[in-house]
């Protein structure tokens, strides 16, 4: 589904990614872990198409398409979804209207007609249950005045609405209490299928107790320095990142 080869990127003059290789297949959950500043969020942002970064070398294929050539909106329409670490507040745009526009723009991209009001409402009601989000919240301006937990739940609600092929969760656990974390994880797990894949970017192992990964990769200084199974995450939790840093220094 997703194939990243030797991806290097910088912001301004600062090199952030130093050659990432990653293969994600349908049905898989990959966790990307690493200390602060290792490039985790950069990787997530580049995949979604944020323009702040300059890709200097490398290739990213997504279902046979050159992902880096696509506009951010086209990437979304192709099935990429980024759950933001810091969801943006947009006064004057309600989540409902925003989602209606997004759903129909994506349908348009895929050559489908727009959903009518009834069908949209039905879809929304169904997905709202999944993340236990209230309709009154969705009628309000997007994320404006939402608590941290509400914002993250709103991200997963949007993910449920758009049914992406590849979901990238960027530090979705940050700022969540344990109850909110469970709700978010439940939402993500319910959406898992053999046809889609998930990349979970996280600093802590905690989230991985609830969203169990098939693979764990450790990012350090813009490179994947170690890959393993969920046991690797546990090891990191127990030992911290220092041993990874030391190991990397030896290489």
């Amino acid at each position: 589904m997703l194939s990243i080869k030797n991806l290097q990127a910088k912001i301004g003059e600062k090199q952030i990614l130093n050659g990432i290789d990653l293969q994600v297949n349908a049905g898989e959950v990959h966790a990307i872990m690493g200390p602060n500043g290792s490039g985790k969020s950069t990787l997530a942002s580049i995949l979604a198409g944020r323009e702040d970064y300059e890709v200097t070398t490398g290739d990213v294929q997504f279902n046979g398409k050159d992902l880096l050539e696509l506009e951010p909106s086209d990437r979304a329409a192709e099935g990429i979804f980024l759950a933001f670490q810091y969801p943006v507040e947009i006064p004057g745009v309600s989540t409902i209207n925003f989602m209606k526009t997004a759903v129909n723009k994506i349908r348009h991209y895929r050559g489908q007609g727009p959903l009518d009001a009834v069908a949209f409402l039905q879809l929304m009601k169904e997905k709202m249950k999944l993340v236990e989000i209230d309709q009154s919240l969705l009628s309000r301006s997007l994320n404006e005045g939402f608590s941290g937990g509400e914002k993250k739940r709103n991200e997963i609600f949007q993910m449920a609405m758009l049914e992406p092929k590849l979901a990238i969760l960027d530090e979705t656990d940050s700022g969540l209490d344990i109850d909110a974390l469970k709700i978010v994880a439940h939402g993500v797990n319910s959406l898992r299928s053999k046809n889609n894949a998930t990349i979970v970017v996280t600093h802590y192992q905690r989230l991985l107790d609830y969203i169990v990964p098939d693979f764990v990769h450790v990012l350090y200084k813009g490179k994947i320095v170690k890959s393993g199974t969920k046991e690797l995450a546990k090891e990191l939790e127990a030992k911290g990142y220092d041993w990874i840093k030391n190991e990397a220094a030896l290489v």
Partner: protein, 433 residues
Amino acid sequence: MTTATETFFKSIQESTVPSYFGEGKTIRKTALQRLLEIGLPSNKSEEYRFTPITKTLEKKLVWETSTQASTLSSIEPFLIPGLDAHLIVLINGAFAKQFSNLDELESSVTVTTFAEANTQIKEKIVAQLGSLNKSDDAFSLLNTAFYQEGIFIHVPKNTVVAKPFLILHINDAQQKQVVSHTRLLVTVENGSAVSVIEKSDSIGAYPCFHTFTEEIVVGEDATFDYCKVQNDSGSIHQVSNTTLSQSNTSKVNTFTLTLNGQLIRNNLSIIIDGEHCESHFHGLYLVTGNTLVDNHTVVDHQKPNSFSNELYKGIMDENSKGVFNGKIYVRPHAQKTNAFQSNRNILMSESATINTKPQLEIWADDVKCSHGCTTGQLDEEALFYLQARGIPYDSAKAMLLYAFALDVVALIKNDTLKSYVDDLITERLHKNF
């Protein structure tokens, strides 16, 4: 001052006071004398620092007030579709009876042109004319000296005028240039409510200059809703001077929408001469091309315990220019005043500009006042967020701009007007989502 302007001033100096009608001779004369003293604003004038109106007009036209009749056979294109309103039409400064319609007006309400007013009403007109507008603005003086026609609206006590008034100012510059000056007097007596919409348009390729001066008296416990739509398809130059006064517990809502025109200057003054008044004045300017829009507002709290809230927002694209100046006065005994002001702007291009200046002068010590102005580009982070959900760049941009503009429109009560304004904004922002 160019020679043409000098000649014009000389000619008016030598001529007798213009007397279109019998009323208001003295105030015309006084205004004319004052105008001769101060002249038209130069680029050094603080009030017109960013708005080179005199220079622009001198380049484009001569000052003589137009007298030509219009050949317009229909006003259909200038109407607000579906709006059920009492219609007053002025073309090139003259009242166009054939297009106006006041058939369904409440019988207790008086509406007349100055020219057709009977002796009794003329007395009222003379008494009210210039009673609020004491502005030393050159174009206000020019208007007072040369206004061609005025409309007088009087709403007696405890009367709710069911339908809004729509006043259309049409300037027909198809044959030659137009210079027109019009006037409006409105009195809303105690406990009454009325809504006035003023819309200005011009047609034709010749230059066009229009001034209009409004004086509106809002009585105790009365409500006045006012909407100005400036969406000229031609290239009008316009200066409006609107002065409102409010008595105890009255409510005023004003909304000024500017979308098109060559050079638009709106002077809006609200005199809060009563306690427990509420005034909301909103403005939205969405301009492109070479349009210059300049909103100068004054709210003058003269009595205690009143509330005013000003919200002006602008989006400038291409080479357009925006100017905002907001004065708030809180007089010494106007304690417990709440006065808020906000001016927010988005610049869409490198060459678009905005000059914004809040001016608060507060003499009372127990008041709540705040002001804020912001100027920026579209929020890139928000733009990316929308795109990351599958909304293409152009739609995302339109969506954000529309959301930015939206709260300013909230004051409009009339649904037809609201959806008309909404359509205009949508069209301007290419909102196609």
